[in-house]
């Protein structure tokens, strides 16, 4: 009974997992971390995501285990709520409405509410970074750092001490505090600083006689500090991506774990101290055994400062491909919301130092069959020449990965603006075209080795051309590979790749053409381009402009499997989506305000199974899905929602529904005498419920059997039982109230609404209620 409903925009993954420090459960089996609007539960051994705790409507800002129950966890969110979850089953237990929380902190034995209130009261001017606040030994004091000031507040004495550092001691080292950690057993506070120093503060309950010692290994900012639960070790990490383990009181002994990945942002230790885990700036969580050995890596979608390569689909693995870690290309499975693997493009050691220009992957392209991958990496250092490398990778069937085939250093004199492979699948020769800011575009071709047979074929430059010294901005091949269109600012030039003749030029001033794509299948005679204010469509048969509309198209995407095109237009602060066929004047689908901000990255991903939707507005989603990247690093997609369910099926078969349904039926049948037939009628939904409910949620058969038999025996001696039943029921209701208050309230409401019942009806009602509650209670108890 599923009907096709509206098309919705669904966030489908790729959110940050390194936003706040993750939490390891007491048994060290699970790791919880805030990820966008949900809390994700990962297994520490298999790296798989087990649950997603969904319910928050804002960004989750903190996750914390409940100190009194090891199997429950609190989460705070920007939507102003605090939620308690059972993470083993992934169930929401309680919602607490509070002010907007930035972070939650709990001492080992504190009640969360009290602390939260006190936090807002006792300390003003708190750093918004949760690493800047820590509770000391058994919750006796709270330490907070901000700028050049360390503030310690003692709960017992209700008194705070402030310690200041000088602005700048020597050699341009900044003393600014970045993070703080308190020793669990000792009166000691460790603070991290921007110049890479760690200070250990002691004797801080005196205003004057405090002391501190300095540890210095990090060469740049210490971003996270953490003591192990026993207080024997101090862990620190920073931009260098080296986890340093200091022995407490023997600080000259250190252990290092280098080259963990991106800069370390958070360090946490499991409650038993057997596992460490570090979050990294490249959206990664590393789980480390206490013997300083990496045991697992949980990697999310890496989104650096900018997506220099466009979103692409790997034709083989159907994975989303974009630049990830510096110098790498990431392959991301959209179905599983999981990073498949990173391909090392640059193959150089990454130096963890801020302000250093490194090689970055800026362009990538796949050919139609996925057997070739072209990547461009560049490093632009001020006062030095631009370093460019064009690399071509061949897919190796045996190792199932890409193998470097050709490296072309300095393929162009200036930055490469666009790159595309020739599309046709049947031709033997593969062609790659690259356009550059030096005003040329070049065609590269796979050539057999000139002399010896021992080396394989490699890529060579086949053709170089320019057009009036203009800068080419983008290029595109037609679907059959017979035409190449290269945009030179306002002019679109159409070339024949077989003879390298300039066939025609199209231009439609004003405005430079920024995006270009050919129509496909039945619309292959059309060429579409976008300027800053217009969407243009040329007919290639007549070489004239077919139609034009004025809209600010930021991104034009063509569906590889159909004629459809999607245009993302930016209008007054939000982005609209139009899906259209080049041959038809009317858009197939339009969606106003898909998201706020600009959408510059989008891709059509082919579906694994074709849908058969007949509705016109949703037909374009039959073959492929449209994914786009919003500002907040989330991948979102359009979904055909199977929403509108017939009500009878949709409402869960709760006891209260039974109650209600029976009651209504009873109302209809009030005139009828109480006969066995009517009773059977009455019980009919109960039977159907028994048959329809999944077996694993039903109580044991023996229990149900007795219940069933009892229900059949009612009519004989109903009056006698009634009194005793009533008493039982009352006591039971009290018991239940703590567990399912809202449900009971709802039940009460229905009761009050209903008109007065006959005695028999009321008895019947109570009986059913009693039965249902008891087995519900049984479920809860189990």
């Amino acid at each position: 009974m599923v009907e096709h409903g509206d098309i919705r925009v669904v966030h489908c993954g790729g959110s940050k997992i390194n936003f706040r420090d993750p939490v390891i459960t007491h048994d060290s089996r699970f790791l919880l971390c805030a990820s966008g609007e949900a809390v994700k539960v990962f297994s520490t051994s298999t790296e798989e995501c087990i649950h997603e705790l969904r319910g928050h409507t804002g960004l989750v800002t903190g996750v914390l285990l409940r100190p009194s129950n090891h199997l429950q966890v609190y989460s705070s969110s920007l939507d102003g709520t605090l939620r308690l979850w059972d993470f083993t089953d992934g169930i929401l237990i309680k919602v607490g409405q509070r002010f907007q929380l930035v972070a939650v902190h709990l001492p080992q034995s504190g009640d969360q509410m009290v602390e939260a209130q006190e936090l807002s009261a006792v300390l003003s001017g708190v750093n918004p970074n949760p690493a800047a606040i820590a509770f000391g030994r058994g919750g006796e004091f709270i330490a907070s750092v901000n700028d050049l000031q360390l503030e310690v507040y003692f709960f017992k004495k209700q008194k705070s001490y402030r310690f200041f550092l000088k602005e700048d001691n020597k050699k341009g080292g900044w003393n600014t505090f970045t993070c703080v950690a308190c020793h669990p057993k000792d009166d000691c506070i460790a603070t991290g600083h921007e110049d890479g120093k760690i200070r250990l503060w002691r004797n801080f309950n005196h205003k004057k006689e405090y002391t501190y010692s300095t540890l210095h290994w990090h060469h740049s900012t210490v971003s996270s500090l953490c003591f192990t639960p026993e207080g024997t070790n101090l862990l620190s990490g920073g931009v260098e991506s080296v986890l340093v383990q200091w022995r407490y009181n023997q600080e000259s002994e250190r252990d290092f774990l280098p080259r963990l990945g991106g800069a370390i942002t958070h360090i946490t230790v499991s409650p038993d101290g057997s596992l460490f885990c570090t979050s990294h700036s490249d959206n990664k969580i590393t789980i480390i055994q206490s013997c300083v050995k990496v045991s697992a890596v949980i990697q999310g979608l890496v989104k650096g400062d900018s997506i220099r390569t466009d979103l692409m689909m790997d034709p083989r693995s159907k994975a989303l491909v974009l630049n990830g870690k510096p110098g790498h290309l990431q392959f991301y499975s959209l179905q599983r919301d999981k990073l498949l693997y990173n391909l090392d493009i640059v193959q150089q050691e990454y130096i963890h130092e801020s302000g250093l220009q490194q090689f970055e992957v800026v362009k990538a392209a796949f050919d139609a069959s996925g057997s070739w991958l072209a990547t461009v990496e560049e490093r632009h250092q001020k006062a030095a020449e631009l370093e460019l490398n064009l690399k071509l990778w061949a897919f190796d069937e045996q190792t199932q990965s890409f193998v470097l085939n050709t490296t072309i250093s300095a393929p162009h004199d200036a930055q490469i603006t666009a790159m595309c492979f020739c599309q046709p699948t049947d031709s033997q020769t593969t062609l790659l075209v690259s356009t550059s800011k030096d005003g040329h575009f070049k065609a590269w071709q796979l050539a057999a080795p000139a002399h010896t047979e021992d080396e394989g074929p490699s890529w060579l430059c086949d053709f170089v051309s320019a057009y009036h010294g203009l800068v080419p901005e983008c290029c595109s091949f037609s679907a059959d590979g017979s035409l190449l269109a290269v945009v030179f600012q306002e002019v679109v030039t159409v070339w024949s790749p077989s003879t390298w003749e300039l066939l025609t030029t199209l231009s439609q001033p004003p405005g430079a053409v920024s995006d270009l794509c050919f129509g496909r299948l039945s619309c292959s005679k059309y060429l579409l381009g976008t300027t800053a204010s217009n969407l243009l469509c040329w007919n290639l048969l007549t070489c004239s402009l077919e139609w034009t509309t004025s809209m600010d198209v930021r991104r034009l995407v063509a569906d590889p499997l159909s004629e459809n095109m999607a245009a993302f237009c930016y209008q007054s602060g939000s982005t609209d989506l139009f899906v259209f066929k080049p041959s038809e004047p009317r858009p197939l689908f339009s969606h106003k305000a898909v998201c706020s901000g600009k959408v510059t990255q989008a891709v059509f991903a082919p579906r694994e199974e074709m849908l058969e939707s007949c509705e016109e507005s949703s037909q374009w989603l039959n073959r492929s899905q449209l994914y786009f990247l919003t500002h907040f690093s989330l991948i979102t997609r359009f979904l055909l929602s199977p929403l509108k369910l017939v009500i009878d099926d949709s409402v869960a078969m709760t006891p209260f529904y039974l109650l209600l349904g029976k009651h209504r039926q009873q109302q209809q049948e009030t005139a009828l005498p109480q006969t066995s037939t009517s009773l059977l009628l009455l019980f009919f939904p109960f039977f159907s419920q028994l048959l329809q409910t999944p077996a694993h949620v039903l109580p044991s058969t023996s229990y149900l059997c007795s219940m069933f038999v009892q229900s059949l025996l009612i009519s004989a001696h109903a009056e006698e039982e009634m009194e005793s039943e009533k008493e039982e029921e009352d006591s039971e209701e009290e018991m239940e109230s703590s567990r399912s208050k809202p449900e009971l309230a709802a039940a009460a409401a229905t009761e009050s609404d209903t008109p007065a019942l006959t005695k028999a009806q009321a008895r019947e009602l109570r009986r059913v209620r009693k039965l249902d509650h008891s087995w519900l209670a049984g479920l809860l108890d189990s």
Binding site: R259, E349, I351, T452, A466, Y467
Partner: protein, 513 residues
């Protein structure tokens, strides 16, 4: 935890010739044996029967050499004047030779005195050959005639007077006793049939023809004259197939490699070129000391014999398979393969517990130092004598890596006179190498920045800095000249292709003064 990624050494394409199968094949000859003859060696002919002796015609003598002897096994000296074109009969028993005195002599290979004398020509005879039926002789002379002679009677059978200039070369068909080809200085190559009174096919070579050659199938004919080598298709009535112009002086001699896959041409420009007969591209080239007049190739390419104008005969013998094997055997003194795979090819059984050993990655010394951030030491290692001279790309790669890490300045600073002069030496030696220029220019700029305060304190360093300045000045001049040439070429291309876009490649400019 990722492992340390070693410094990437750029692989540059090897300059110079590419090593191909042909290069390997034609280089597989021993050092040449050189024999001094009495005059310019005009002809070399191999005997068709084993042991494939060869007759060398030089001045008034014909020497016959065995395949491995350096002394002639036989010599014919009864010539009154310069002898020409000593050729063996197909059974290797008889030898015919022309002479400047217009008499053609026929010798028994085992005898000494001429068996027959053929008199009739009026001028020097440069062409002699046996027909394939073994009973007739073809001769061609400077009196513009070619004649057929009967051997038993020593009588003239036919005279052809179609050529209008000296006849200097010719060949008889090995398959048909009546067909023969002559090449003349009148620029033509003519195919004669003895059954007909005149030539059957005439081909115009364009230059005086010095040598002709028939393919074993006799469908194709090769003629050499002037700087050109031309291939003709006889089955299509003498249609020109290819014209090769790879020599820069007159081509004097032709030979086919025994399997017919390669064609060799020798020229007065002192080169022997080897062509692939499928696409007629030059696949190899031999250099000799003097202009080459004659070329001979033993069956199975066992030896290449070249006769030159300075009367030297050069014989190159092919290296034996056994010889090369012996050399390889001597080199191999390493532990056997068995030692290395010992225990490694053991396949674990079903219940075995496999303890995997981490593979230790080998890092070069400079990489180990880079891993420890010892930048100055890493640069010192990369500037070590062996690396600096033999593998400058490693030094440059390390400098580049240091620059990428932003620590090149630290690595370059704090050097004494010796260290600095070593560094400057390297830069002076490699700065103008286009592959290294971008990296070394940055380094040189940094060195100048760092050490500008101490300039003038050390004469050694000062001298080197002056050299560097000189070098850069010269290089800039070169680049300017090159750009001028490029501009001229562009103009020419633009005028020759009025409608098409001009592909102009950029040139690396040195913008450092």
């Amino acid at each position: 935890m990722a492992s340390f990624k070693p410094t990437k050494i750029q692989v540059y394409p090897k300059l110079g010739e590419k090593v191909t199968q042909d290069t390997l094949y034609w280089k597989n000859y021993k050092a040449p044996v050189q024999i001094k003859e009495f005059g310019a060696v005009t002809s070399i002919d191999f005997s068709p029967v084993t042991p494939h002796n060869f007759a060398v015609t030089a001045f008034t003598r014909i020497h016959i050499y065995g395949p491995f002897s350096q002394e002639p096994v036989k010599s014919f000296t009864r010539f009154k004047d310069t002898a020409y074109c000593g050729r063996f009969r197909s059974d290797g028993q008889l030898l015919v030779a022309g002479c400047e005195d217009s008499v053609v002599r026929l010798f028994d290979v085992s005898g000494k005195v001429a068996l027959r004398l053929f008199k009739g020509h009026t001028k020097a005879v440069h062409l002699t050959d046996f027909t394939s039926d073994r009973y007739q002789i073809l001769t061609g002379s400077d009196d513009y005639t070619c004649r057929l002679w009967d051997i038993p009677n020593a009588t003239e059978l036919t005279t052809y007077t179609e050529h209008t200039d000296y006849i200097r070369c010719g060949v008889t068909s090995k398959l048909n006793r009546d067909l023969f080809i002559t090449g003349s200085y009148d620029h033509t190559v003519k195919l004669f049939d003895a059954r007909v009174e005149k030539s059957v096919i005439t081909m115009d070579h364009g230059q005086p023809v010095e040598s002709v050659l028939l393919y074993p199938s006799e469908g194709l004919l090769v003629s050499a004259g002037g700087r050109h080598v031309k291939v003709w298709d006889l089955l299509k009535g003498g249609q020109p197939l290819v014209s090769l112009k790879n020599h820069h002086k007159t081509v004097t001699s032709l030979a086919l490699s025994s399997n017919g896959q390669r064609l060799l041409s020798a020229s007065l420009d002192r080169h022997v070129k080897v062509y692939n007969t499928t696409n007629y591209k030059v696949v190899h080239n031999f250099d000799y000391a003097a202009s080459i007049l004659s070329l001979g190739l033993a069956p199975d390419d066992a030896s290449i014999v070249v006769g030159m104008t300075n009367s030297i005969l050069s014989i190159k013998h092919r290296k034996n398979q056994e010889d090369s094997k012996e050399i390889a055997g001597q080199q191999r003194r390493r532990p056997s393969y068995r030692v290395f795979v010992k225990g490694k090819n053991y396949v674990p059984k079903q219940d075995d517990y496999l303890v995997s050993k981490p593979v230790k990655e080998h890092l070069a010394k400079y990489d180990k130092q880079l891993q420890r951030f010892n930048v100055s030491k890493a640069l010192d290692t990369a500037l070590g004598t062996y690396i600096r001279f033999r593998k400058p790309e490693i030094t440059v790669a390390v400098i580049k890596e240091l620059d990428r890490r932003g620590t090149l300045k630290n690595a370059l600073a704090g050097r004494d006179e010796r260290g600095l002069s070593q560094l400057l030496n390297f830069i002076i030696g490699n700065l103008v190498d286009a592959r290294f220029t971008p990296v070394l220019v940055t380094a040189a700029e940094m060195i100048l920045d760092i050490y500008q305060s101490v300039i003038g304190q050390s004469p050694v360093v000062d001298r080197q800095l002056l050299r560097l300045q000189d070098l850069v000045k010269r290089e800039i001049e070169f680049q300017k000249d090159l750009l001028e040439v490029l501009g001229m070429l562009d103009t020419m291309f633009a005028s020759s292709l009025p409608r098409k876009e001009v592909p102009c490649s950029g040139i690396a400019t040195l913008d450092w003064v």
